[in-house]
Symmetry: C2
Subunit: 207 residues, 2 copies
């Protein structure tokens, strides 16, 4: 299969390609994709070859064709089904963002412990009380759970999602989740992005 | 200097090392750091050697010493000064998160166009009206700006931050910002993390 960093690059290429297509471009060169993504043109060409697509050195890649090919690799045929747990500031920002971007992987339901959240429709997503999570998971085939609850509730949330059949977690809570071997965990930490940005701010300003 | 991916790994190592220290550990082996970060133990050893630190194959690395060394590399001596523009759902989630994590790089001020936000103290951060941004930047040495405004306001926000001396942007708005050569832009896109997670959910569930 494909290693983790290659999948991440393919997801990033797809965002850039969609933006170019929306802006009316039909073709793109490997060096253009590379510049927007901070990788080398050779890395782009290797990735595109790996997924069995080809372009021409003179005319570049056909954007729509490359997008279709990346979609075949990234988007599972039946869809994966995603639920969000924790509809606070972060949860609401994510629901608004995914709805606005028409993400290829919509969030089908959201869960929260706060009684006033259940029954609401937030950016097109039905919100339920957390007590309804396991029965929801038993009725639907959900493979991905987004964990956007406070740190102390995160492990229990992860356990309930996994017991309901979820096989991958997108985790924002600042804890290391304890999960079985066959469950993938993607930890997002915006503090890391901030620290990286601060480092380059310093080295840019010294130039 | 250090390449982009190395800096990102050092930031990630620092989060893991801080968590281990807080949990009462004094030493760590390269394979333990590697496992938490999905890199190889050899990559960890190469990174640690690159920053001029050493441990012992028998006892591992001293966590406090390694943290100090990473801090010397990552944290600029005088601090960089960070401001946030856009105090909506995402902005508030970030202010709460950075305050809770006692991030080594605190957000010193936040700005928004909504009149009711100015004058507030949110998670210890003073909020001002956006009209006060340029005068604030002229009085303080701020090198980093976080862009958490809607897409249509992002380019203007970036322009104002850069005119005020900011040299690096942490951008959440779904637009490609047009900036001069000497400004670093880190684009965060959680939709990419979700798509990557969904891909691995599918391949995990096939096993
Ligand atoms: N990793 C990052 O970069 C990053 C960035 C921002 C926030 N965060 C983290 O994301 C989480 C959410 O942040 P926020 O600002 O939205 O917090 P918040 O307090 O606004 O939202 C948390 C929500 O979770 C709900 N909740 C609490 N316990 C629950 C449970 N057991 N089951 C279901 N729902 C429950 C609450 O009712 C609330 O709506 C926190 O853990 C925070 O540390 C991480
Ligand atoms: N990249 C990602 O993964 C990701 C995730 C979530 C949200 N987002 C993006 O982050 C941004 C904020 O999202 P949100 O959910 O917090 O939206 P929001 O509407 O809740 O917040 C936006 C805030 O910006 C303020 N604002 C608008 N124009 C402004 C201006 N010219 N100057 C200063 N402030 C201004 C508004 O008053 C509001 O408080 C959006 O662009 C959204 O698309 C990105």
């Amino acid at each position: 299969e494909f290693p983790d960093p290659t999948i991440e690059r393919l997801c990033c290429y797809r965002r850039i390609l969609s933006a170019l297509l929306a802006a009316g471009h039909a073709r793109v060169y490997s060096h253009e994709l590379a510049a927007a993504q901070r990788v080398t043109p050779a890395q782009v060409r290797r990735d595109v070859m790996l997924i069995g697509y080809s372009g021409s050195p003179v005319k570049g890649y056909d954007i729509a064709g490359l997008l279709d090919r990346i979609g075949e690799i990234l988007d599972p045929p039946g869809g994966v089904g995603v639920v969000l747990v924790g509809v606070g500031y972060l949860g609401r920002a994510l629901l608004a963002y995914f709805a606005g971007r028409k993400s290829p992987i919509p969030v089908v339901a959201a869960f929260d412990v706060a009684p006033e959240t259940s029954g609401q429709l937030i950016h097109g997503c039905h919100c339920y009380h957390i007590d309804e999570l396991s029965s929801f998971l038993s009725r639907r085939s959900i493979l991905v759970g987004i964990v956007a609850v406070p740190a102390e509730a995160a492990q229990k949330t992860a356990r309930e999602l996994i017991d309901g059949g979820v096989r991958a977690l997108l985790n924002f809570a600042p804890v290391q989740l304890d999960v079985p071997q066959n469950v993938y965990v993607e930890n997002v930490d915006i503090a890391v992005s901030l620290e990286k940005t601060a480092f380059f701010a310093q080295s840019m300003s010294l130039e």
